[in-house]
């Protein structure tokens, strides 16, 4: 049976991830910081190390060395979530990304040539590695990367590499791994210790042992480690697909009482959320900002965006408008930003074209209007195929996007419908002689009827219970939009008013003025 070829893999290692995760979620303050697990120091930042805090020391020893040390208990679940967050952003670079806890991301490097089609394979793979490290930096992480053949070799080389970027030729994994300790191959410590006792203390020495002997003395783990040491790992990447929308948080260095520091913090968070969305080919159409107040309480803001985008600079204006209109009850100590509504970033252009100034101007004015008037005050109308005139359209968010298909009513019906529809039809009284209507009394004043055209019978919706749903807003706010209706509409030209839309209600037999052909 033919074995699968080992894939080219880019491994991105995040050294001291627990520490990095905590540090990126707070503004830099210069206070020594360490992560503690089981009462012992797991890792510490440069300030802590300079103060004498060592990994593996007890917390008491660390505090004795550095009284100012801030220590945070390790949270492996949060570390895994952070790894997935970065994986999301890396999706922009590779066809498949696999989080490999506790601190590595594996990227499929087989498509690296697409990044630089005119470059040699090595240059293209190194470019991919540099971009991955840059994305990690944008997301607030320091990383180092290695490109090699096979998941295991790439991961081991990244973990033990000296430089930020390491490139290993397709047949060079065994030679690169050879000087590394056997522990680098992911062996259990007791097996590594037994191998060490036998004088097998490097991956190269392990690679030279016959598989039969290893299987007998060290079981399947020993065989797997030896294969890894020979650079033999054909296992495919397990492609990861994100299931939740991105959210990022930041603890402020001190309580913020004005909008400027909040905007500063939100800019950082926006860059991170946008990078994660961009990796998935998504753009945010609505953001949620949560401001944690001191000492308690929260302020929540929903920020609608004119069009779905993963360009964080386009989020800034709407965010700024909402932020500056806010009256805070207390200082803010932490900020959280989440994308709560997203859409695939389509190839469709805004109707105004791709002029960035025009798009920015639109974003800006929509944000200002939404903040000041309320989001419900702005809409685009979408025709609805209903006979009931006041239900003839619905309000949808205005995006400026061109329609996917021609609106069914567009350009049809000529002037058959009035340009103005009254929110509440006004009762009018007919006056006449000999069964002929000669005038209508509107607002208490008799208007001579100059011409009448009609009737147009509109009736239906007998299946819906009367008064069930009411219009939520707009011209028919509070009006019944369901239930049977039976109306005979007339276009009536009234002296001094012009053409009016009047109907006789089949229910009560009365006449109502419903609109104007203005």
């Amino acid at each position: 049976m033919r074995r699968e070829a080992s894939p080219r893999v880019l491994a991105v290692l995040l050294p001291d991830l627990p520490l990095q995760r905590i540090a990126r979620a707070r503004e830099p303050g210069g206070t020594p910081l360490a992560v503690v697990a089981g009462g012992r120091i797991l890792c510490g930042d440069a300030a802590a190390r300079a103060a004498g805090v060592r990994a593996g020391a007890s917390l008491a020893e660390a505090l004795a060395a550095c009284g100012r040390l801030v220590h945070v208990v390790a949270d492996p679940a949060a570390d895994r979530a952070a790894l997935r967050g970065l994986a999301e952003a890396m999706l922009a670079l590779a066809p498949a990304v696999e989080p490999s806890p506790p601190d590595v991301l594996l990227l499929d490097a087989s498509a690296a040539h697409l990044l630089a089609s005119r470059c040699a394979p090595r240059e293209a793979e190194e470019l991919l590695a540099r971009r991955a490290v840059a994305v990690a930096a944008e997301m607030g992480y320091a990383a180092r990367a290695a490109v090699a053949t096979g998941r295991g070799p790439a991961r081991a080389i990244a973990r033990h590499a000296a430089g930020t970027i390491t490139w290993v030729a397709p047949d060079g994994a065994a030679a690169t791994l050879a000087p590394l300790p056997v522990a680098a191959l992911g062996l259990a410590p007791e097996i590594a210790a037994r191998l060490g006792a036998l004088g097998v203390d490097s991956a190269g020495a392990l690679a030279r042992l016959p598989e039969g002997t290893l299987a007998h003395r060290f079981g399947p783990d020993g065989v797997a480690a030896a294969r890894l040491a020979r650079g033999d790992d054909a296992s495919p990447l397990v492609r990861w697909i994100p299931e939740t929308l991105p959210e990022e948080a930041l603890d402020l260095e001190g309580p913020a009482e004005s909008a400027d520091p909040l905007l500063f913090a939100l800019k950082r968070l926006a860059d991170r959320v946008a990078a994660r969305l961009a990796g998935r080919g998504l753009g945010a159409s609505r953001l949620k900002i949560v401001l944690k107040l001191d000492p308690r309480g929260e302020e929540r803001l929903l920020v609608p965006l004119a069009a779905a985008t993963a360009d964080a600079t386009r989020w800034l204006l709407p965010v700024k408008e909402h932020l500056f209109s806010l009256r805070l009850a207390a200082p803010v100590i932490a900020v959280r930003l989440a994308a709560v509504e997203v859409a695939a970033v389509s190839v469709e252009q805004l109707a105004i074209g791709d002029r960035p100034e025009a798009i920015a101007a639109l974003q800006g004015v929509l944000a200002r209007l939404a903040v000041r008037l309320g989001e419900g005050a702005l809409f685009a109308a979408e025709p609805v195929d209903r006979h009931r005139p006041e239900g003839g359209y619905r309000e949808v968010p205005f995006t400026g996007l061109p329609p996917r298909a021609r609106s069914p009513r567009q350009g049809e019906e000529g002037g058959a419908r009035p340009t103005r529809l009254l929110s509440s039809p006004a009762a009018v009284v007919a006056e006449g002689e000999g069964g002929r209507v000669t005038a209508l009394r509107v607002d208490g004043r008799a208007r001579e009827v100059l011409a009448i055209d009609g009737p147009e019978r509109l009736r239906g919706e007998w299946w819906a219970p009367q008064g069930a749903p009411k219009a939520e807003r707009g011209f028919a706010a509070g009006a019944d939009l369901a239930g049977p209706f039976d109306r005979d509409y007339y276009r009536v030209r009234l002296d001094g008013l012009g053409d009016c839309w009047v109907y006789r209600d089949g229910g009560d037999g009365r006449l109502y003025l419903h609109g104007f052909f203005d």
């Binding site: 109707a351 000041r372 008037l373 809409f379 025709p383 929110s423």
Partner: protein, 223 residues
């Protein structure tokens, strides 16, 4: 300087926001609405960009149809807005007149949603006028129709007029101010048309431009 990095970033962000807030390029000239009776009455045969024009008429005089015709005649990439202070614009009729509803932003500041708080701390009329100014000045909309029932004798009428004029000029926008002949605020505009229907046909007459901010008398139903 422990915070110099942050200050630099703030300065950079202000600059970036300033860049984003710069308005798109302005256009000049006039745009015909393709209604012969209206265009014939307009100097230059169309509504001027970067200025306010007033369409004055009764409730069924044809002023709304004229404004909709102008929106339908704009370039396919243009956006337009309608500040619907009365809440009477009927969008299906606009679509029937060739207006692309996806490019039409309707703003209804006077009608808070049922069960929703009224517009944030704003007197509805002031909010509507503020929306008019913001839309005119943004440069994002080629035309803004304003149907706002400003009552006679409103305080600061001159200032309102100046602000709207300046906003239209700044944004290069065609501003259409819809009024009723017997009521509502009038002020100096670039063009004022008085519309009426005679035997079912719209008749337009260019009116003399009056003094700045003339609050007209009258009551009844304004449209």
């Amino acid at each position: 300087m422990p915070h110099s990095g942050k200050h630099l970033t703030l300065a950079h962000m202000r600059e970036e926001i300033g860049r984003i807030e710069r308005r798109p390029g302005r256009r000049g000239g006039t745009v015909a609405c393709r209604l012969a009776a209206i265009d014939a009455a307009l100097p230059g045969g169309g509504f001027p960009r970067g200025a306010l024009s007033e369409l004055s008429g009764g409730p069924a005089s044809g002023k709304t149809a004229a404004a909709l015709s102008l929106l339908a005649a704009l370039d396919p990439e243009d956006l337009f807005a309608w500040v619907d202070g009365r809440g009477e614009l009927y969008p299906p009729a606009a679509a029937a007149r060739g207006v692309d509803l996806t490019r039409l932003l309707v703003v209804r500041p006077l009608l808070p949603a049922a069960g929703r708080r009224p517009p944030a701390r704003e007197a509805p009329l002031r909010a509507a006028l503020w929306a008019c100014e913001a839309l005119l000045a943004s440069g994002a909309f080629a035309a803004v129709a304003m149907d706002v029932p400003v009552p006679r004798g409103i305080a600061g009428a001159d200032a309102i007029a100046r602000r709207l004029q300046a906003a239209a000029e700044r944004g290069g926008t065609i501003g259409l101010w819809l009024t009723a002949p017997e009521g509502g605020l009038r002020f100096r505009v670039a063009v004022r048309l008085e519309l009426a229907t005679e035997a079912g046909r719209v008749v337009a007459r260019r009116a003399l431009l009056g003094p700045a901010a003339v609050p007209a008398g009258g009551g009844g139903r304004a449209a």
